[in-house]
Point group: C2
Chain length 253, copies 2
């Protein structure tokens, strides 16, 4: 059978929102880079510029890549579920590694400078988001990629995985906003109120982070844009339904 | 017919999560009050304590009441749709009035002290959240409470209203987190890093704001906890379906 007949293309609205999300995501990375480059002296590992690695890595890992990992089931809607799952897991893994570099950068910078760690609300939210993100990744891996978990266990865990996935993405963005606020009040507290360019750039970056989250959230919550099951998955699911029809519907607590 | 037969009680899990959300909401207000009372000299309108009205009003209005307004369709699931809608609109109106007092408090305080307005990321997010919240309320009123809008227009707008409602609630919480961060760095920047009690209290308040949002978000997104249509609404909806069955299903763009 002709592939173009069995595999419908993405809905038009979805492609448009996807394009906007990618444009916004790249703009976030460019603006964070511009902020560090233009106003904070640039980026380097072995100097006092090591701190600047932190914002850039967190925006790339915990915002852009995490957001894109959430979208793979909408974009690659006609690929097999297994390959989409692997891409979803890989993008999250990639996000985790880049975020880890960002976390190490700030701890290492604090250690070299003799600054205290983990006292601010930003750091509390950040370490919570990063740890839970890692746990969520491990749980996703064990439930959905390893063959151990049964079909019914996967079905029960899936809504929780999706809910906490979106929650962690929102928490990551909120943590970035706190980081922007903290960085501005540490660096330009005296001039921030006179609308200096650095303050405006960072504020606009904050608003764009929110808009990025809004667009990704919108794409994820449209029912009509959810990945439809492929023909072979539908057949499998019907078989499963027939097999379990005899069970009591109130067997779960 | 016996009322207890036709009106099933709320699902057990929902009641439990509801109780937790209300406990958290009251804890948020108590903690904000304790912060202002214990460490910031208390609250008064006609003095430099006027600023302290701001955090308290915003937490009560934009977080606690806004959150509770989102829950009314889950809690009062057996009341008529019209009375639930009115309660939903009234709670949001009440939230808006209290938040407005909070907004006036901070602008008035800045004016008296000669401080600049609207330069921080917190203020940008706050004014965005408050303005959009007011617009969302006006749109909800005109679409769902005034009789002008048609059934099909309401059905089209409803998912957008729900999505933006949850978005504005999240944005309000994020703005509170930014406010906490800003207030701490303005008041206790020198001692914040030595884990002083005020810093810890405010950080814990920030984490509780996130947990409050998490619990409300969890309640709102459980399909099985959504308000089931009452018998008479179901009949009405079937009538509507029969009336419109002849229309082309692809009539919307």
């Amino acid at each position: 059978m002709d592939d173009s007949l069995t595999r419908p293309s993405s809905p038009a609205g979805l492609s448009c929102y996807m394009a906007v999300s990618q444009f916004l995501g790249l703009a976030l990375i460019a603006m964070t880079g511009a902020w560090m480059g233009q106003y904070r002296g640039g980026i380097a590992w072995e100097s006092s510029l090591q701190f600047n690695v932190h914002p850039l890595c967190m925006v790339i890992g915990m915002v852009f890549l995490q957001g894109d990992a959430l979208l793979v089931y909408r974009v690659f809607r006609n690929e097999t579920k297994r390959s989409t799952k692997i891409l979803h897991g890989l993008l999250h893994a990639f996000a985790l590694v880049i975020a880890l570099v960002g976390v190490i950068a700030v701890f290492d910078y604090h250690r070299k400078k003799g600054f205290a760690d983990m006292y601010s609300l930003h750091s509390w939210c950040g370490i919570t988001a990063f740890s839970l993100y890692f746990i969520q990744w491990l749980m996703g891996l064990s439930f959905f990629l390893f063959p151990g978990a049964s079909f019914s266990l996967r079905s029960k865990y899936k809504p929780q995985h999706v809910f906490f996935g979106i929650f962690l993405f929102i928490l990551s963005i909120a943590t970035c906003l706190l980081g922007i606020m903290e960085m501005l009040l540490f660096n330009i507290k005296a001039t921030y109120s006179s609308f200096v360019p650095e303050g405006i750039l960072a504020n606009v970056l904050g608003l764009l982070l929110i808009v990025f989250g809004l667009v990704i959230g919108y794409i994820l919550t449209r029912d009509e844009w959810k990945r439809p099951p492929l023909a072979e998955e539908l057949a499998l699911s019907m078989d499963f339904k027939n097999l379990t029809m005899g069970e009591s519907p109130s067997s779960s607590p």
